[in-house]
């Protein structure tokens, strides 16, 4: 049986879609069979981040309504044989899908794939309820900002209420220069406030913007964010990987600085 993981945050724009895409690519790279699902009906994005937007024929709603078979809607990734995308519908709204239907769909996929990753829409309404319905594990993405952390806390409360017990935290867009000045909360600060298991911390890396412009994953690139995502994937697979010390990465900072 595969593991069904929802990637969620409450607040929009903190990096859910980028995180979903990169964890999907990373797990596939490590040899796992992976499906990533865009559950944001009406605001499809995961296809663009993965560079697969021109290959969409059918979507999530088509599968649920029985307009096509699952196999017809799954888009094979450009680089990885064992990575598939189930895109969202651009013309439907949240009410086109119910939590029960999503649960059935993820159960079906879990029979064949090792990991099913659900990219959750922002908010706590029906889109969120749909995305978490079939999940047994959640990854909360947040940034070191008051608004994002507040939303993450509410989301964690809602997940606990919905009996999702395995909850991991990813802290995105950390700027060590600001942390050092005391102008940005540190990984330790955020983890302490939210009191959930830390799965990974990502630096605010411009390579992510460059990768997204090109529809490529950042995980293949020689970048801090890419390495951090790969470590997240290894931890998900049960490996104990030490956390990158974003503080003492002088070598890499120096290298980046020098290459400019």
């Amino acid at each position: 049986m595969g593991e069904v993981i929802v990637i969620t945050s409450g607040k929009g724009g903190v990096g859910k879609t980028t995180t979903t895409a990169n964890i999907g690519v990373g797990l596939a790279k490590l040899g796992k069979k992976v499906v990533v699902i865009d559950t944001d009906l009406g605001l499809r994005n995961l296809d663009v981040v993965m560079g697969l937007e021109n290959r969409i024929v059918y979507n999530l709603v088509d599968v649920i309504e029985g307009n096509c078979r699952m196999k017809q809607a799954l888009i094979k990734d450009k680089r990885f044989e064992n990575l598939y995308l189930l895109p969202s519908a651009q013309t439907k709204d949240k009410s086109a899908v119910s939590p029960e239907q999503m649960k059935k769909l993820t159960e079906e996929l879990a029979e064949e794939y090792d990991y099913i990753l659900l990219d959750c829409p922002a908010g706590i309404e029906q889109g969120f309820q749909n995305a978490i319905a079939g999940a047994n594990h959640a990854i909360i993405v947040t940034t070191p900002e008051v608004s994002a952390i507040r939303d993450a806390d509410r989301i964690i409360g809602l997940l606990e209420k919905n009996h999702i017990k395995k909850i991991d935290l990813v802290i995105n867009r950390i700027r060590m220069d600001m942390v050092k000045r005391g102008d940005m909360m540190s990984v330790e600060d955020v983890t302490e406030i939210l009191a959930v298991n830390l799965l990974g911390a990502l630096p605010d890396d411009e390579q992510v913007v460059i990768a997204t412009n090109q529809g490529e994953p950042v995980i293949g690139m020689d970048s801090m964010a890419g390495n951090a995502y790969l470590n997240i994937c290894k931890r998900l697979m049960g490996e104990e990987v030490p956390f990158l010390n974003l503080n003492s990465r002088k070598g890499l900072f120096h290298k980046i600085f020098k290459s400019k």
Binding site: V146, I149, R150, R154, R181, G182, D183, I193
Partner: protein
């Protein structure tokens, strides 16, 4: 170092999360805290400096002594 904007953010978050978690205003929470103190002090000898109420997502912890939870 800690007295720049991070400490402001952390103290704002602290009261924000408490009021989100118990669904009340910071003022109401202060009242809950002082009523709990009054009630408990009727039966148990406690001193105000060592009394603290902490709210997590699933529990309310009442600290009576100087010990950490």
């Amino acid at each position: 170092m800690k007295n720049s904007s991070v400490s402001i953010a952390k103290s704002r978050l602290k009261s924000l999360l408490v009021s989100d978690r118990v669904n009340c205003t910071p003022d109401t929470f202060d009242k809950i805290q002082s009523e709990l103190y009054k009630t408990i002090s009727k039966y148990i000898e406690i001193i105000p400096e060592e009394f603290d109420v902490q709210v997590t997502r699933s529990h309310i912890y009442i600290k009576l002594t100087g010990e950490d939870l």
